[in-house]
């Protein structure tokens, strides 16, 4: 890099920092989430207080609440888009065309047990005239219309068991049951809870994030309660969760920083309060389940819902204030 380029850049930086605050560069949003708020600003933050700006209501005039946004992270990989599936298959076929063939007698001694087993396992492939990438038909690597070979419901389990010889197979020859035990069949991605649409189950919607909603004061929301004494937001959220859904949930509160907020202004001041401010604290659940027996916050029901279902469950104003802080997936 030349000296001139460096000087120019630093000069530009000086000019920029002297100018009015500008929008943050896009690069921040993709990587630096943990950077404290102040360091992202070009100018020191001047927070308006009731003293500096008389128009603002005093802090004591608002009820401060904290809500626990407990989510179950997805335990399944995302669903493949049909285009992705087709693309990977296309690349796989191209790779087959370019790869060296399997050298049978290098790996198996001729007429040994393993060699015979391999030969037997290759039979269905030859019978079905499966694509190999070699020979005069090697150029026909593209799928024809109506051929749906790229989509395999069982992740290719049946095909692999039928055609692949493993070390264990060579050792244990007799009995299909034993073989089935060695290569365990993967479970389907949709569980029983998915079929029954059991909203209280945590085995549902494996590739999506599930959020815990409770029915509190007659409406669906995240478990919420007021700050008590010298508590901070995270402690209140932890206490709220324990008081509403029991203590048998293995949760992890992600940080001290709220991930969102909601301000409600009362039409008439209630008990000397102008409104309520709710701050949402993020948490992850790793084990356990909510239990409402003997809760102290008047919670009557709970559900585990995805973001889309959350939209239909909550009232519109609530949805508008929480929608952007929740992950789409």
């Amino acid at each position: 890099m030349s000296v001139t380029a460096r000087t120019t850049r630093s000069a530009c930086g000086l000019l920029r920092s002297a100018a009015a605050p500008r929008p943050l560069p896009r690069a921040f949003f993709s990587t630096a989430v943990n950077i404290p708020i102040e360091s992202l600003q070009t100018e020191p933050v001047r927070i308006p207080t009731p003293e500096t700006r008389p128009g603002l209501p005093k802090s004591s005039n608002y009820i401060i609440e904290s809500a626990a946004v407990v989510s179950r992270p997805p335990y399944l990989t995302p669903e493949l888009h049909p285009f992705e599936e087709s693309y990977y298959f296309y690349q796989q076929r191209l790779h087959q065309r370019l790869a060296l063939p399997f050298t049978r007698y290098f790996y198996f001694k001729k007429d040994s047990t393993a060699d015979l087993l391999w030969k037997k396992k290759q039979r269905p492939l030859r019978k079905a005239k499966a694509y190999t990438g070699f020979g005069p038909e090697g150029w026909k690597d593209e799928l024809l219309i109506g051929d749906n070979a790229q989509h395999e419901e069982d992740f290719g389990y049946e095909r692999l068991v039928e055609t692949t010889v493993t070390k264990e197979d060579a050792v244990v020859e007799e009995g299909a049951e034993q073989e089935a035990k060695i290569v365990e069949k993967p479970l389907p991605r949709t569980t029983k809870a998915d079929e029954e649409n059991d909203l209280k189950s945590l085995d549902r919607a494996g590739s999506r994030t599930l959020y815990l909603l409770v029915k509190q004061n007659g409406r669906w929301q995240f478990p919420t309660s007021r700050l008590e004494g010298k508590e901070n937001l995270r402690h209140t959220a932890m206490r709220t969760l324990e008081e509403s859904c029991g203590m048998n949930m293995n949760t992890w509160f992600v940080g001290n920083v709220p991930i969102g907020h909601q301000v409600i202004n009362f039409s008439k001041p209630k008990e000397g309060m102008a409104g309520a401010k709710t701050f949402f604290m993020k948490a992850r659940i790793m084990a356990g389940q909510a239990d409402l027996t003997g809760n102290e916050l008047g919670v009557t029901d709970f559900v585990w819902v995805t973001k889309d279902e959350l939209k239909d469950t909550t009232v519109r104003g609530y949805w508008e204030s929480v929608r952007h802080m929740l992950a789409t997936r």
Binding site: F29, F134, F155, G260, H324
Partner: protein, 129 residues
């Protein structure tokens, strides 16, 4: 082709002599010409299809990346707005929420996403203590 090299070949010995294993490795690792795949040669229409697929893939990935970045940006803005609101409301709470005290470490019992679910399913029976 004698394995081991170095020494001069004895007159009477045939070419296949030497360690059989090494000879076999040499034979199978240098594949016969007929088995070596030819370089991909595409015709005009095939090349056009390939190019189209490639461009579509790039576009697909780009859209995916952009929507992910937008989402992160929205989440980040929500955090910032919440922090500003908190600072306006209560200075002590704001200071505490920006401090890194008592955050703890990332829990090791969080599951890594897999293609298919595990046999045991969710652990509902977990109890504290």
């Amino acid at each position: 082709m004698a394995a081991g090299g170095g020494g001069r070949k004895k007159k009477g010995k045939k070419q296949g002599a030497g360690d059989t294993r090494i000879r076999l490795i040499k034979y199978f690792l240098t594949h016969p010409y007929m088995h070596t795949p030819r370089p991909l040669k595409f015709g005009t229409m095939r090349m056009l299809r390939h190019w189209t697929i490639h461009r579509a893939w790039q576009l697909f990935k780009r859209n995916e990346r952009m929507s992910r970045e937008r989402e992160l940006e929205r989440q980040y803005n929500k955090i910032r707005e919440a922090c500003e609101e908190l600072a306006r409301t209560d200075g002590r709470l704001y200071r505490v929420s920006l401090s890194k005290k008592d955050i703890g470490t990332f829990p090791i019992d969080i599951r890594i996403p897999t293609d298919t679910p595990g046999a045991r399913g969710w652990n509902y029976g977990w109890t504290r203590g």
